[in-house]
């Protein structure tokens, strides 16, 4: 595959009536990388993903997926995509196995191939023992696993995952991460949206932070943390109602201080030292915690809000 990027968006816009869901974003996803979209509810992540999945026409700007224009070559693009939509779209009139088989048939795979693939993917999704059950009878997390399995039926070159792990238990989440790592090692390009910082930090080589329909930052997780945050963070919690004025009193102990409804965050290179100084000023939190910076802190810095309220 040549140097042409997997996905290339320039000044990409999506409008729904008067709502501008995406306001002119530039994105380049290289072949073989894992790329993340991070942002709060309504930021425009899903709208962007759906345009890339060639299931939602762009309102303006330019978009190339696998080197092709979705408006012209939608079917050819989709033939090489796997897509996990934010909301499951399983076929509720069919069983687990049938869901996988018929989906493969939509891609034009042979009957023998889809039979083989269905068995293999049920194994992956740990649903083999539910093979002939109607989809309706699965739990939420099982349905999610089946949706993810289904997206792999055509061995996609580009996999779009819109909040793939919502509803998954920790074990299933880690299993999926492991699986995604292996797909990536096999050359599959991954596009992931998530609210989970750890997920994006773990999985993504690069990401963009979206807020209010725009991209507010772009880079690798560690780059973003280095650029927008400090090495460590000191979290101070206080009993309800006693937090007032604390932020001012500890203001110069860190490079930056953020006040959240339930805690005060002190951004500093050395959290332990800052904590000593806090105590030295006779500020008495009920609990304190020193941790390293995460993408959550990057997001807070960029938007003044937390990601998950």
């Amino acid at each position: 595959m040549a140097a042409a990027p997997m996905v290339e968006a320039k000044a990409l816009v999506k409008r729904f009536g008067n709502v501008e869901a995406v306001r002119g974003i530039d994105v380049q996803v290289r072949t073989g990388e894992a790329f993340g979209f991070l942002g709060p509810n309504g930021a425009g992540k899903s709208s962007t993903m759906r345009m890339i999945a060639s299931t939602s026409p762009r309102s303006d700007g330019d978009l190339r997926v696998l080197g092709m224009d979705p408006d012209v070559d939608g079917p050819r693009i989709r033939a090489r995509l796997g897509s996990v939509p934010q909301q499951d779209t399983l076929d509720t009139e069919l069983t687990v196995r049938q869901n996988l088989q018929i989906y493969g048939r939509y891609f034009g795979m042979s009957r023998a191939a889809v039979r083989r693939k269905a068995t293999e993917l049920m194994e992956f999704a740990q649903l083999s023992d539910r093979a002939d059950d109607p989809v309706d009878t699965l739990s939420g997390g099982m349905k999610r696993r089946l949706t993810i399995a289904r997206s792999l039926v055509n061995d996609p070159d580009l996999l779009l995952l819109d909040e793939p792990t919502t509803g998954l238990d920790p074990q299933a989440r880690h299993m999926l991460w492991d699986r995604l790592f292996r797909l990536k090692a096999g050359g599959v390009t991954l596009l992931i949206t998530s609210h989970y910082m750890d997920e994006v930090e773990q999985l993504c080589d690069r990401l963009v932070v979206m807020d209010d329909a725009r991209i507010v930052a772009e880079g690798s997780p560690s780059e973003l943390i280095a650029r927008y945050s400090t090495r460590e963070v000191l979290e101070l919690r206080f009993p309800p109602g006693e937090q007032g004025g604390v932020a001012e009193r500890v203001a110069e102990l860190g490079e930056r201080v953020e006040e959240l409804p339930d805690r005060v965050l002190v951004y500093t290179g050395d959290g332990e030292r800052a904590l000593e100084q806090v105590h030295g000023r006779d500020v008495r939190p009920v609990s304190s915690l020193v941790r390293r910076s995460t993408l959550e802190d990057v997001f807070l810095r960029l938007t003044g809000r937390t990601l998950v309220d």
Partner: protein, 287 residues
């Protein structure tokens, strides 16, 4: 949870790239609308109905009950009626081909409104399909095709019984089957367009409101000459009227050129219905 090596990435393109078959439709229509894979939807329907085949039996039996009721009931009351070409004919033989057309209509409308509505509004079945290479016209043709297959099956059964009762007197009556397919296609296509406009299940009453008068008024039970002249023109606009004209003429072997007009009417309806269904699906789901 270990995966075999067949999943090793980035190779799938070969198996699943653009479809190989390039039919006439495929070349005429814009690629994003149609990729020539409507058959996959037939397969899906077959999967769904493989567990609900009893539905078919009821679909076959229902129109036959009508026929039986006429044979033993009305047939005794109304003896003769003026049929195609001005000939007088047995009343049951007059009604039977019309019932065949009407049952093709009913089956198609039911299939394409009820079934499609739930898949479309609640189950997101088509959203899932549109994330694959399938286009909206594949979906339209696939769903309509299923209604047509069912319509054809019922028509064959019905025709068999008609022949058994001695109600189909001409070899032309064999053409009732393709006519039933055409009627099914036209009504399934129109029904599917309508289904995309329905907002809630209670609105199915509107569908009934359209189908019931059509069933009663399209010269199903009495000849066109019964109506006063202005009404005759109105009746001749009803799609089912054209289906009935075809089946009735063929059943007794009275053919004339006007039949080409009836066929053309239904063909236009079918094509327009399929096209606008695809447009509606694209407009509503690919946003």
């Amino acid at each position: 949870m270990r995966m075999s090596s067949t999943t090793s990435a980035a190779t799938g393109a070969a198996a699943s790239s653009a479809p190989a078959r390039r039919g006439l439709l495929l070349r005429m229509l814009p690629a994003p609308l149609y990729t020539g894979r409507a058959r996959a939807l037939l397969e899906r329907s077959a999967m769904v109905y493989s567990r609900a085949w009893l539905v078919f039996v009821s679909g076959v039996v229902e129109p036959l009950l009508y026929l039986l009721a006429f044979q033993v009931g009305f047939g005794k009351l109304v003896e003769e009626v003026t049929g195609p070409g001005g000939q007088t004919m047995n009343y049951v033989a007059f009604v039977a081909p019309a019932l065949l057309a009407a049952s093709a209509m009913n089956g198609a409308v039911f299939d394409s409104t009820f079934n499609v509505f739930f898949k479309f509004r609640y189950n997101k079945t088509y959203d899932a399909m549109l994330a694959t290479p399938l286009g909206p016209l594949d979906i339209a043709l696939g769903e309509i095709g299923w209604a047509v297959l069912r319509g054809g099956l019922y028509a064959v059964a019905f025709l068999g019984v008609m022949a058994g009762f001695g109600l189909a007197t001409s070899p032309w009556a064999l053409l009732l089957v393709p006519v039933a397919l055409l009627v099914s296609f036209a009504f399934a296509a129109i029904g599917m367009v309508c289904a995309t406009f329905l907002k809630s299940p209670s609105q199915f009453d509107f569908v009934q409101l359209a189908v019931m008068p059509m069933f009663l008024l399209s010269t199903t039970f009495y000849p066109l000459s019964v109506y006063p002249e202005p009404l005759q023109y109105a009746v001749q606009c009803l799609p089912l009227y054209h289906g009935v004209e075809l089946t009735r003429g063929l059943a007794v072997g009275v053919l004339d050129v006007s039949m080409l007009g009836h066929v053309a009417y239904l063909l236009v309806l079918a094509a327009a219905g399929a096209y606008f269904t695809a447009k509606r699906l694209a407009g509503l789901l690919l946003r």
